[in-house]
Amino acid sequence: MEIFGIPTQALFGQLLIGLINGSFYALLSLGLAVIFGLLNIINFTHGAQYMMGAFVAYLLLNKLGLGYWWALLFAPIAVGATGMVIERLMLSKLYKLDHLYGLLLTFGIALIMEGLFRNEYGSSGLPYPAPSQLTGGQNLGFMFLPNYRAWVIVASLIVCLGTWYAIERTRLGAYLRAATENPQLVQAFGINVPRMITLTYGFGVALAAFAGVMAAPIYQVSPQMGANLIIVVFAVVVIGGMGSILGSVVTGFGLGLIEGLTKVFYPEASNTVIFVIMAIVLLIKPAGLFGTQK
């Protein structure tokens, strides 16, 4: 069977890879958006923290014998905790300055972390097995769907929608949105805004680490795994605009799909298609698809 002269097997295969990539774009841009909303900084360390999530999973397995499910729980907590330390010790000192300093600081921290892991583990990727419950796959008739990949898509959708629900529909989320609008006023109502900022940063970082653990069995665990990805995610964020949570999720998955389609129809452009879309969106709607120009 063929569609537009492309075998359906290849087409759906690439679409699946697109959805997988889209899951990671969505999770990472969601974390960036949550952090940006309250802290007004772009977390350049996000890629490094994603990488650290994968490494925590790798180390838990090889040093302590704790498998994937434990890693999915512990890695976000551990990496999120280091994030909170960074926020308390360094980022919190910069809020009164130009926001660009926050960008430069997190860039520096990313260089340190990636350099340290490269010194310790080299540049080549380390293998990480998928959990035994999720090996194998389903034959859907038109294509073969590995269980683990289906799990990644479902899990990231659940986490994204859960985050959306927590921020848009709960009391804590209401505080968060209020603090984004006017931190002084919210503080005057007796809410500890600095602690909320620390926890928000920790949560955003934990999302990155969660994505890292999920990525470990698909891509290999390597110190550079986050560096190039984060630049694509920046483009995703520019395209979607950081105004809306659902917007970043939709943009993430959508761009993953478009990237997958490009791999089928014009493979040479698959690395650059997202950047090209970014350029077009900037021309037509500079604030981003779901953003509002301030």
């Binding site: 960008l103 600081l105 520096g108 340190i112 350099g115 964020v237 520019v238 900037l282």
Partner: protein, 320 residues
Amino acid sequence: MASDTYAAAAKGVSRHQAIAFALMLAFFVIAPVAGLYPVFLMKVMCFALFACAFNLLIGFGGLLSFGHAMFLGTAGYASAHAAKVWGFPPELAILFATACAALLGLVTGLLAIRRQGIYFAMITLALAQMVYFFYLQAPFTGGEDGIQAVQRGKLFGLVELGTAAGMYPLVLAVFIGGFLLIWRIVHSPFGQVLKAIRENEARATSLGYDTDRYKLVAYVLSATLSGLAGGTKALVFQLASLTDVYWTMSGEVVLMTLVGGLGTLFGPVVGAAIIISMQNYLAQIGAWVTVVQGAIFVVCVMAFRRGVVGEIAHWMKKPL
């Protein structure tokens, strides 16, 4: 009032800056004679010009570009390709490279200035990554190998550039010329408007300035001068490679400018000298260089935001 400021700005050159410039010029004239390795000095001058061009944008226009490597790298490829494949003489190769960078600056600038602040940084980074992927796949760049063994040729058909003695004066002239041009731009009425936009864009708009156009011109100028540095650098090393287009290079030029002092005239030169020397001496420790650079970033942002030259200027209470 405005005309007074312009008059003062046009006069511009303070005694301290003139002395600092004389010292810098004297250093680069005497250093190779005094025994410093000429290729090292030429590398410092190329990166100093690159950092000065970058600083024109962030230091005086308030726009943080995280994609300046695309201009350095594009010019490098253009100059190497023109000199090696088309047999251009060096002066034309460098001119062609500068023009290519200017054109790229115009195209990317039109896109990037549509957003401010953090978005501007992300957009320039993404555009630069797109340019990197383009060069990674384009046939004329030689992929991972780059363009190697580029002939330096004869300047104006007269001066043989093959030796360091021939090449050094050219690089010095390019660097000093570029530096003086930036000095002139910063102190021109245009430079003053640019500073006004950095301080308060809404106010500048209300005074009737088309801020987008000023920002675009500053961006293109910065790209052009970065191209001048990149085109020259490719001839110095007789090599154009992917390293110069990769995002780490964009980060390095930010670091140089930050260490030397954002928004100071001489800061980027000092910063480039410090970072290049550090890379030279730390070359044997491999990946630790990245860690050290990251640590310098953190220290500069947390405790040393004025940079070396900025601190000196602050202490002397005079702009440098």
